[in-house]
Structure formats: structure tokens, C-alpha cells
């Protein structure tokens, strides 16, 4: 069997932590090879070794049968290896074109030859159906388009080994579908692809084989077509994962949160990003707002949470009008918020775990006395959360949060927010980028919340999550609610149509 990539007995050590322990990984020519593993299992590290960002302490790499040394991304490039990174590596104020040529510039008389590059990029864009605007700024384009830019970056330098590190975590269902097609097309052209994802559905759809990593060790490689999702996830986490979320039927109570005619204007234009939105969330239900990214759902939640000024409308929590209340008051009245961007909003990354654990409650008498922090109380509380919510980190409550894995950071936020015993939880993409184990855990927590007759407002881009977790779905499109659906009564396909705006519910005719 011919392998394009052979990574043999790779060991990578950070400080005194073995991130990769004797991992062997082989990719055949022309296949999509999936790489699966929990958060922190070492997938990205393995790929970084292959791409020359890290140097392995031990092991060897063969590309097309030849032994190679990959000391930096340039070497990888010369071997025709390209990578789309887990976190996009794009400069926010570069144009699309500049982003693509960065590092591979051609010059004439010392000046950049942008015209030639533009021609080549447009050709590629056409050929692979990767629609882009070469002159748009990265910060102005959608995540999906950014992804296309990343892919074009790889294609621009004629790579034929392509690494996709969790490319789908940030994409909408439509974009994911598009990406799958592109991947299949690329493989049909003879390119080889390594595909990292936590979503087993996707792996089932595109991958030929799948290698599973666990805590830095290679568990094995399986044929995707002959292995079930359950088997793969068991290899990955070491126990059975329940994909069918158990939800008992319960009665919903009074409205906890009422949103009335909420309107939010866009920052720099007159357009309303949220346009006259009204709904209510009742006790004992998980209401999901589904929609394609960028349709105003983020702003909607920011508005409700008080992080974004609203232009019109009313927000009522437990019968109390909180439209004009401060963020602190909203929290005190029982609102919890699991924010979309955990690094930006959810955590003070340079604080340690215990300090982050009390970010919303440090001022309560149990943690302070006349303005002096009760350190022991904080520590004990953090320990309690760690135990109760199974938060794993290198140094327990003393860990600096920056050094914790994304999954555990997320768990910390969830622990902090739910432990306050809120009336309503605003959960925005709570499982983005998390492995199946962590995802399952978080879903359980949200459902437990609902079972206690609390309310949850869930915002998710992932259709599986929307369908499995929620009790009721509102679809948002261009800032307006275009339909109310019952997850038990509709199909994923239908939901997709609503989200794409091509279908509207009975009471949701376009006003204009």
C-alpha cells in the first residue's frame, strides 16, 4: 500500500508533558483520512509536527516514501503540505488577496506583483467553486468565506497534501455541506486530505479511514465504512457515549423571559440587525433560536444580556421590566449567560481558575466581607465546582485559565453560570469545538436545568444540537423570527430551508 504520509513513532513533549506518545500515523494517497480524539488528545499537535510548527522529540516522517525533515512551515510547503488551522491564521486587516499571497509573494523591481497573483487566485476560485472577493478585508467577510480563503491559500501553492484541523466547528450547515463537496472534489483530483473533526456524522460522510488518538497515544486506525459512530466514540473517550439524549416530557410553566418588539440597529448602518423580535421563554423549556450565523442571533442575545444597547423594545424577566437595568442587576434577577466567545467575554484568561469561578459572584457576602475577599471561601467554592462539574486542569483551582483546554474552559463557565441557580440561561453555542464527551455532558446539564423548571434559551448553529436538545425552535432570518417549529414534527431538511430564508411560518409573513 502506498502512503503519502508516514509519521512513525512520533513523540512530542511540552515541558514535562507528553503531548504525543509514540504515535504512528499513515495516510494513503487520494484518501480523506479522519483524525479523531478528545479535546487535548494531541490532534493539532500531531498536525503541527507534520506542518513544521513543532519539532518532535522522537520519530520520523516519510513523505511519498522519502524520509524528510520538516523544520518549519516552509519545508512543509516545499513538500506540498498545506494546512487549514483550527483557529484561522488570517490577518484581520489584510485583503483576501494579500492573505493568500502572504509568504509566497512574487515581486518585480522590489514591488509586489499583485496582478499576476489575482489572476491565479481567480482561476483557482473558479475551478474549485470557492467564491471569494479578492479585495474584501478579512474582518469584513463571513467565517465561511474566511475558510475558503484558507483553502485557497493551500491551493495557491499547489499543495497536494491538505490538512483540515476542525474546519467545520465554525461553519453553518450549508457551509459544511459545501466544504464536504469541495473535499470530495479535491480528493478526486488525487489530493490527499487529513480531516479533523469532533462530529462523527461528518467523518462518516467524507472520510475513508479514521485514526483515533487518546491522551497523546494512538489507539488505532479504522475503516470508516465498517465502523459505527458509537464504536468510534468509544475508542475516543473510553466509554459509551449516548447520542440519543434522554429527555422526559415535562410541563412548561409561566414565561420567565419575555422579549417584546426588540430592535437593534447595526453599528455603522441604519439597517436593523435585530428587527422587531418578540418571543417568550417559559419555565421548564429549552427554547432554541436557530439560524445561519450572522442573522442577528448574536446581537439578540447580547441585547438581552445587556452587553449591547437596544434601540427599541422591552425585555421582561419574571414579570419585571429589565430593559434599562445594568448587567449586574440582570444577573441578580436570575439571568445567566454562557457567552459565544469564551475567550473574549467569558473568562479572564490570565486569572486562575478560582478567580474565574467567582467572576459573577465575587461581591456576594459569602465571598467578601467589607470589600475584602474571603480567599478560603473562594478556594473551597472552586474546589466544589471542580469536583461537581469534573473540570480538569493541570493545577486544579490554581491553574491559570489560559493554560486550560477549551473544553475545560467551557465547563468552567457552565459550572459558574449554572451553579448560581439562575432562572434563565442564555446558552450561546455552548458546545462549539468540544469533543463528544464534553458535548454530551453539557447537553445533560442544560436538560437538567430545564427539568428543574428553569428556562434555557439556546442558540446554536448545529442542527443536530438544535433538533436533539430543544423543546421549541424559533428560526431567525435576517434579524426576524420567520417561524416557530416543534423539533419532533419537522425534519432537519425542513429546518434548513427555514434557516436559509426560503420558507416562512404561518404567522411570519414578511412585513415590508
Amino acid at each position: 500500500m502506498e502512503y503519502v504520509i508516514e509519521m512513525n513513532n512520533i513523540t512530542k513533549i511540552f515541558g514535562n508533558f507528553k503531548a504525543l506518545d509514540d504515535v504512528t500515523f499513515k495516510v494513503r494517497k487520494g484518501e480523506v483520512h479522519a483524525l479523531l480524539g478528545e479535546n487535548g488528545a494531541g490532534k493539532s499537535t500531531l498536525m503541527s509536527v507534520l506542518f513544521g510548527l513543532y519539532q518532535a522529540e522522537k520519530g520520523e516522517i516519510y513523505i511519498n516514501g522519502k524520509s524528510v525533515q520538516i523544520n518549519n512551515p516552509n519545508d512543509a510547503n516545499n513538500l506540498n503540505i498545506g494546512m487549514v488551522h483550527q483557529h484561522f491564521k488570517l490577518v484581520h486587516n489584510f485583503t483576501v488577496l494579500e492573505s493568500i499571497i502572504l509568504g509566497r509573494e512574487t515581486v518585480k523591481n522590489g514591488l509586489l506583483k499583485k496582478d499576476d497573483a489575482r489572476k491565479k487566485v481567480m482561476e483557482l476560485s473558479e475551478r474549485y467553486k470557492l467564491k471569494i472577493d479578492p479585495d474584501a478585508l478579512i474582518s469584513d467577510i463571513t467565517v465561511g468565506m474566511q475558510q475558503r480563503v484558507e483553502i485557497l491559500k493551500m491551493l495557491y501553492c499547489d499543495n497536494d497534501i491538505l490538512i483540515f484541523d476542525e474546519p467545520t466547528a465554525v461553519l453553518t450547515p450549508q457551509e459544511i455541506e459545501e466544504l464536504m463537496k469541495i473535499m470530495k472534489y479535491l480528493v478526486s483530483e488525487g489530493k490527499s486530505i487529513i480531516f479533523i473533526s469532533h462530529k462523527l456524522n461528518e467523518i462518516k460522510e467524507v472520510a475513508d479511514r479514521c485514526t483515533v488518538l487518546r491522551k497523546g497515544k494512538c489507539i488505532g486506525t479504522v475503516d470508516v465504512s465498517t465502523t459505527t459512530k458509537e464504536q468510534m466514540s468509544e475508542m475516543m473517550v473510553g466509554r459509551k457515549i449516548n447520542f440519543n439524549i434522554e429527555k422526559k416530557d415535562i410541563k412548561t410553566g409561566n414565561a420567565v423571559l419575555e422579549v417584546k418588539n426588540l430592535t437593534i440597529k447595526a453599528k455603522n448602518s441604519k439597517k436593523n440587525v435585530v428587527n422587531d423580535v418578540s418571543f417568550e421563554v417559559r419555565k421548564g423549556e429549552i427554547l432554541c433560536i436557530a439560524g445561519i450565523d450572522g442573522n442577528g442571533q448574536s446581537e439578540l442575545v447580547y441585547g438581552i444580556a445587556g452587553l449591547l444597547p437596544i434601540n427599541d423594545g422591552k425585555i421582561v424577566l419574571n414579570g419585571k421590566d429589565i430593559t434599562k437595568e445594568s448587567i449586574r442587576k440582570r444577573c441578580l434577577s436570575g439571568m445567566a449567560h454562557i457567552p459565544e466567545d469564551r475567550h473574549k467575554d467569558g473568562l479572564v484568561l490570565d486569572f486562575d481558575l478560582q478567580q474565574n469561578a467567582v467572576l459573577q459572584t465575587y461581591y456576594e457576602p459569602r465571598f467578601q466581607n467589607h470589600g475584602l475577599i474571603k480567599f478560603n471561601a473562594v478556594k473551597e467554592y472552586a474546589k466544589k465546582l471542580i469536583k461537581q462539574y469534573d473540570i480538569r486542569s493541570p493545577r486544579e483551582e490554581d491553574s491559570i485559565v489560559r493554560n486550560m483546554s477549551g473544553g475545560n474552559q467551557q465547563k468552567l463557565i457552565i459550572a459558574r453560570e449554572l451553579d448560581r441557580d439562575p432562572e434563565i440561561v442564555l446558552a450561546v453555542q455552548p458546545t462549539r469545538g468540544l469533543d463528544v464527551g464534553a458535548t454530551e455532558y453539557i447537553h445533560k446539564q442544560l436538560i437538567a436545568q430545564r427539568d428543574e423548571q428553569k428556562a434555557v434559551l439556546l442558540l446554536s448553529l448545529e442542527l443536530d444540537e438544535v433538533m436533539n436538545v430543544s423543546d421549541r425552535i424559533l428560526v431567525i432570518y435576517e434579524g426576524e423570527i420567520v417561524g416557530e417549529l416543534n423539533p419532533k414534527e419537522i425534519t432537519v431538511k425542513e429546518l434548513g430551508l427555514y434557516m436559509a430564508g426560503s420558507k416562512r411560518g404561518v404567522n411570519y409573513e414578511k412585513k415590508s
Partner: protein, 317 residues
Amino acid sequence: MNIIYFVAQQTMFFAIPLLIVALGGMFSERSGIINIALEGIMVIGAFAGIAFINVTQNSMSGQVLLLLAVLVAGISGGIFSLFHAFASIKLKADQTISGTALNMFAPAFAIFVARMVQGVQQVQFTDTFHISKVPFLGDIPVIGPILFQNSYITTYVGLLIALLSWLIINHTKFGLRLRSCGEHPQAADSVGINVYKIRYAGVFISGILGGIGGLAFVVPTSTNFNATVAGYGFLALAVLIFGQWRTKRIFFSAFFFGIMKTFASAYSGIPVLKDLPISNEIYKMIPYIATLIVLTFSSKNSQAPRAEGIPYDKGSR
């Protein structure tokens, strides 16, 4: 008319050093390294340049001498800045630490060396390079008196540097790479750019320009150098921020500040201003107050390089 020409000529003396040094700061900061050492670098550049003139002025004179001094100032500023680069790039130290240290070191060093060598701390120079009128160009109406009379060649060096900086930052491979290192070094690294090298280059260029700026500051305004550039390094930093780290805006900010400074110090020779019932101190405050006001209304969207001030660590994410 005469007075307008005078203001224009005088503005150059303030604006050009600020322009050169702020552009230097731009190269450093857009590569991701905050450079508060500009003041110290100016001192070193001016010291080396003036010392060079002092030593060689008996065998040389005129524009050649000044240009060579510019070279010396640039090189010494560049070398000095490498200490900043080393600490903040290689050692990943807090970038204010080495900046502060360099600012403190430079004047002490200049005084120390001057005293060691010649006993006196001022370094004297004879001005053989003042241009009262550039041949031909100086006779062009309007432009001539504004640009080509009563000037120093450093003015043209400064304008050339501005043009080149714009070209380099926006239209060359190096500029593109430099910018990427200041905004998102991980992205640069992932396409095989050596972030460390680029940052060294950025700081080195800032050192060169800082050094030249120091010389350009002293030559038109004094007859000797006394180990100080009177806080102009910090003002250049302000011009850099005011100019939002962009070449063109820095150019305008430098001239805005230069004009304000000219009015503030030369008002007693300017007919309209002279008669205003405003005191000396108020005039002195005006440039700073004006800058504050302009900033207040223009800072909503700061365009500071995103990775500025953060040491790049290949391992970290």
C-alpha cells in the same frame, strides 16, 4: 506672504524629525514591538552624528558631511535599538522594560562619553550645511520658498523616508510580511515567515530612523548637542499613535504638530497671533491641547497593530 513662507520653513524643523522618528516607531510597532525607546535612540543618533561632524568638520564640510553624519546617526541608532530588539524579541521581556532602560541609558552614556573624550558634555558643531536656497528649485514661485529655501538636507531625507516608508509598508513583500507579524504573528509563522527576523528588522529600522531623526532634530535648532532631545521622542510616539500607525496619517500628524509648535513658539513674530490677548504659556499648551481634542474625536476605532506588545512565542497559541 513672507510670513507664510517663514511658518512653512520653520514647521519643517519641527515636523521632519517627528515624522522620521514616528515612521521609525511605525516600523517597529507594526512588526509587533512597542518602542518607547525612541527618545533614547534619538539621543544616541544625534550624539553619534554630531560627534562625527565635530571630529571630521576640519577635513570635510557641507552636504557631504551632513549626509555622512546622517549615515552615522542611522547606523548607531540602529545598533542601539538592537538591545531593545534582543530583550523584547529574544528574551520575550516586557517591552516597556528595555525601552525605559534605553531611555535612561542614552543621555547618561552621551554625557559620559563626551566628558571622557573632550571633558565637556556639549558637543559643538559648525553649521556648514545650511541651505539658504537650493539652486533653480528655490526660485520656483510659492513652492520654492516653502520647500527649497532656508532648509537642511535632512528635510529632503525626511520626505524621502516618508515616501519610501509608504512604499515599503504597502507595496513590498517585506512590508506585507512586517504587517502580518504585527497583526497576527501566528499567521505569519504558519506560512513560513520568520517572525523573529522580521521583528528584528522592524526594530532595527526604527533604530535607524530614530537615530536619523535625532540628528535632524539637533542640526537645525542648536549649535551643539547637550545629551537631550527635549522629549521629542515621546512626542514622536504621540504622533505615531495620533497617525494611527499609518504612513500617510503620520505624515499629516507630524505636520499638524509641527505647525502647532511653530505657532506656539513663533507667535510673537506672526502678526495676527501676536496681537491676540493670549499669554506665552497658553500658546505653549496649545499644541498639546489641540492634539487631545483631535484625538478625542478620532480615536473611536483605534488601529493599533493587534499583536503589538505581545512577545511572540512559537510554542504558544
